[in-house]
Symmetry: C2
Subunit: 420 residues, 2 copies
Amino acid sequence: MWSEAINQMLRQWMRKGALTLHLPDGTARSYGDGTAPQVTLRIHDDATLRRLALNPDLALGEAYMEGSLTVDGDDLHGLLELVLRNFGGGRRSWWNLPGRWLRKARRGLDQRNIAASSRRNVAHHYDLPPRLYDLFLDEDRQYSCAYFRDPGDGLEQAQLQKKHHIARKLRLEPGLRVLDIGCGWGGMALTLARDYGVQVTGVTLSEEQLKVAQRRAREEGLEDRVEFRLQDYRAVTETFDRIVSVGMFEHVGLPQFDPYFRAVHDLLAEDGVALVHTIGWAGPPGSTNPWIAKYIFPGGYIPSLSEVAPVIENNGLWLTDLECLRLHYALTLRHWYDRFTARLDEAREINDETFVRMWKFYLVASEQSFRFNRQDVFQFQISKRLDAVPITRDYLYRSGLVPRQAEVETLDRARDHAAE
Amino acid sequence: MWSEAINQMLRQWMRKGALTLHLPDGTARSYGDGTAPQVTLRIHDDATLRRLALNPDLALGEAYMEGSLTVDGDDLHGLLELVLRNFGGGRRSWWNLPGRWLRKARRGLDQRNIAASSRRNVAHHYDLPPRLYDLFLDEDRQYSCAYFRDPGDGLEQAQLQKKHHIARKLRLEPGLRVLDIGCGWGGMALTLARDYGVQVTGVTLSEEQLKVAQRRAREEGLEDRVEFRLQDYRAVTETFDRIVSVGMFEHVGLPQFDPYFRAVHDLLAEDGVALVHTIGWAGPPGSTNPWIAKYIFPGGYIPSLSEVAPVIENNGLWLTDLECLRLHYALTLRHWYDRFTARLDEAREINDETFVRMWKFYLVASEQSFRFNRQDVFQFQISKRLDAVPITRDYLYRSGLVPRQAEVETLDRARDHAAE
């Protein structure tokens, strides 16, 4: 019965690519138009069949984690390309089964993100052993979309470029006070303080991240210019000349969008500039994928532009620029995947095989969502006065303006050379 | 009684700047904090007092047109700065008196913009004698926000830069088919055909504009590359590699936002790029100022981003870039005002004094709305595939890519020189 339900579903939806499905009873069936990618999937027991038929969004990732579903050659990229190109994208999302009303109600509960649950949700992900992140992130532990001037750029270079691209958008001058909302392991704050001479306050809810960030500030001798705090951004009371928030808004949750931008408004000086960098959804609002919500980012929510625009407008802020970085995150995630899979033995020392497979599934599902679904990255540049930034965006693309760091000057020269 | 009502209103709201008000009975009162601008306003009869008290949004412009209200030194810029800084801006708009529901209902009627009323509304403004537009526009008759690399740029140069900035965003290649929705007097279409070798179809609802555009195509010998039509964009049936629409979306009206972007989707090739350039409102949705709706742009509506984002998302389109040009339109309008007022004698030959004053009020009110209210300009770059444009925006800011026109090469050299 369950195998027939799955057969019906695949016959109806599988149009692009080729899928061969091996069932627990030893039979096999093929679907699709025979084009690439060609994927062979094996389901090893009847219970998995049943779960996949009833709740595919959650069960696919779970069955892969457990090993009750395998892909020949471990071709997760191929599998998730098939899933997203045939069941996702466009106006329909492969996980949007419950109705709009139900989704709204669930969102209200899952994403309440009052101070206590925020801290718990953050701990779920960011208090994992720091060693885990060393396996796949760059040296500065930038855990967000990098900026590739060229798709062939290395990860270290692209993360460096991301920090300086954001720094340019912030229009920094020595001595300015900068608030970093969701400062992570401190890489952005330290870069801004070191290379631009600003005073940075970084807030995080992760104790593990705080420890690392504070140690790095000490080691770099930047304690007089950078202060890290274990603090909810809603509890910050000072005002700042600049606000930067990278890869944090994804955790805010819809019910907190308005308070978030109200805080940006209230904490920002009158002539200030803010830069909010977040994963976005380039389609009508949807719900968070249940597998991601359960295993990776509880309480998170990927915003559509139509959900962010009203809260910017309602809080009296100017949107001065919106850049959409889409494929940069696909490139970033591929680097992370390649690094992670090159060090699987070390990963298995940190946690068990199920965790390792979960992490692989997370990295690949995310990458393929940027390539084959409507996942996007938004950089919102925001101000309170319409003349807080120059009238053209030339300043973002001119060389010779930026950092003192020798490394980056080299990058800039390489870029100018390429442009000639 | 009416003078007392106005007195109360001014005492309550006039905080910034200085206003001296001379009443019909010969008395005068002062308001504000004494800072610039200092404006002296004279109301010459009791009927005008009454209308101003009851319906200031409409009456201010009407009384100025009739001459029953005058400003010393004809300082309309000062007057409208006072109005907008004290009664507009922020979360409150000086004209948003009726409630949200009433506004919605009115909008439904005023902005229905079915084909017949669209044509009538367009004729109201764009079928005015072409000579009128020669008095204040640039030589190419670009009737939309220019692009100032430097605030000191001249109008001719800034309009040229605008066309080429948009052309870069369109990623043109010789031979591509381009649709220009709302082509005006044909300047953009002719520039794209001449300088980028593309095939352009321009549609307009203004018979006067069509005649001028067709004549220009003949005179320039571009008839084989440019076709102008008197056609509603909703009646276009072909598909195009590129779509450009500049200063037209303001006339679409809220009820037609979804059909407009559905048309962009349906008329655009799969790997196509569209650029929609429109005045926008950088705050929560409001209503059209009644004076503007009655005298200048019947059927028009200035969109908030929160009203455009959903229709982009719902129609399966990618927003690949959003530039906010705000002050560029203030600069443009100041050029138009300066040109217009330098040729008032010629304007009076075209129409009567009331019309001339109406036009001045329109130009100044618009300029000051960009400076002191939340008026903005949005350039939406849109595609159907996420890889239709390069992954960074460098291509918009690199020199040496663009047009064959000697003029523009000179501009590019000047710019590179300035950047050094």
